[in-house]
């Protein structure tokens, strides 16, 4: 095997979304450089050892691992606490999908009670509500006058800060989101209507209204 493939193999392992089997590495190299390229599983195996020796010698914080029949990179155990610190920090900042959904319902329907919220979401929301309260994104803002006088939930200033809003009325209106999201069919319809209108204007301006023929628009 040509030595130039050491780096190619390293790049393939680095960028693969899953541990990459040696076979796949060979397939990519032959796929690009031709079937007659000399490279086999034993070559990949020795590149594995060679690269790991290089990482060891130059004090790299990562090394190659064999996982589930493939090869992948992993960082060494001695850095585990630093990486753990960051990932726990990150998870604190990232809202899970369920939390986001709940937060969205509260943001748009506030003040809202837990029963109303759960009717909308269709699932028990105790845990999520607690999490959001703990993160200070929502607050208890009073009580409904309905039976059982359930608590009202509303969003906090922290919520506005989190989403970079000045005030609640800056939230995108559901109607506006619909407008951006509406499918092409609808746009097409709208355009046709518009075309019709503008055509009339153009016809009038140019004084050609008698020749005007709307056959293109049904």
């Amino acid at each position: 095997m040509d030595n130039i493939y050491i780096s190619v193999i390293e790049a393939l392992i680095f960028s693969s979304d899953d541990p990459i089997p040696a076979q796949e590495i060979i397939r990519a190299i032959k796929g690009i450089d031709g079937e007659d390229i000399e490279i086999n599983i034993a070559d990949v195996d020795s590149v594995f050892d060679e690269l790991n020796k290089k990482y060891e010698d130059n004090g790299s914080s990562f090394r190659l691992l064999r996982i589930a029949g493939g090869i992948t990179f992993g960082t060494k155990a001695e850095y585990a606490k630093y990486l753990g610190y960051l990932s726990s920090e990150k998870s604190k900042r990232r809202l899970s999908q369920a939390a986001l959904e709940t937060l969205a319902i509260i943001a748009y329907k506030q003040p809202v009670t837990k029963p109303d919220l759960e009717t909308i979401r269709g699932v028990n929301s105790d845990y999520i509500l607690n999490t959001l309260l703990e993160k200070n994104l929502i607050m208890i803002s009073g009580r409904a006058e309905t039976i059982g006088r359930p608590l009202f939930y509303s969003t906090t200033d922290e919520f506005l800060k989190y989403f970079g809003l000045n005030k609640l009325s800056d939230l995108p209106k559901p109607r506006e989101i619909d407008e951006i999201m509406k499918d092409e069919d609808f746009l097409e319809q709208k355009r046709k209507i518009m075309m019709n209108l503008i055509e009339d204007v153009v016809a009038k301006e140019t004084g050609e209204s008698e020749e005007n023929n709307d056959s293109t628009i049904e």
């Binding site: 790049a11 990562f62 606490k81 726990s88 355009r191 055509e199």
Partner: protein, 240 residues
Amino acid sequence: MYTIKLDQFEGPLDLLLFFIKRDELNIYDIPISKITKEFLEYVEYIKMLDLEVAGDFILMASTLMHIKVRMLLPKEVDEKGEEIDPRAELIQALLEYKKYKEVSEELTFFESNQRKVSFRGNYDHDEKISPPEYDILLKNVTLFDLAKAFRNAIEGVKPVPVHEIQKINITIDEQIEFIMSKVNEFKEIHFLSLVHGMQEKIRIVITFIALLELAKAAMIGIKVSEDFNDFVLYKLENNG
């Protein structure tokens, strides 16, 4: 008519820029009649193809017609008495659009280069230890901390089957006195130890209301406990 691929044009401004470039026209002196005529031919063609973008092209056609009509009328003047060129706005729009179109062409290069870069694909086998204590961020007591501690206290009470209606003689004033005596005695007392041993939920509720009253009247202080399901009542020095 030249055969041009219509989907090459991002809109009417793009098409106009094409005409100007192809015919080497002076953008500041666009022959409106000529360009309008040609533009309308394309609009017919676009309509025939029923392209999505037809509406925008027709809108531009109508703008061109407006300009054409205004060119025939006596010249308008602005406040300074200078003649207004009916094409001025269109020229400005064309140049503005061209500015961004140029940049977007440069962005294609950045895109090409960046497409050659791959990032790390798999992060599943990095060793990580997440220290749980970093999850604790709370600093101040909030209504929620208070309510949660209260609920935990309520849940700590074992449900006893009661078959007869019992009248419990307890008042907020009594509990205020009770709390003040405890706080004066110990300087600090945890809520859970304050209500420890209380058998009836109503007694805990009344005690809780009493301590809220005291806190509101600044007779006692409340602060966070290390156990986040609890909190601490403490004696305020100026009330001693």
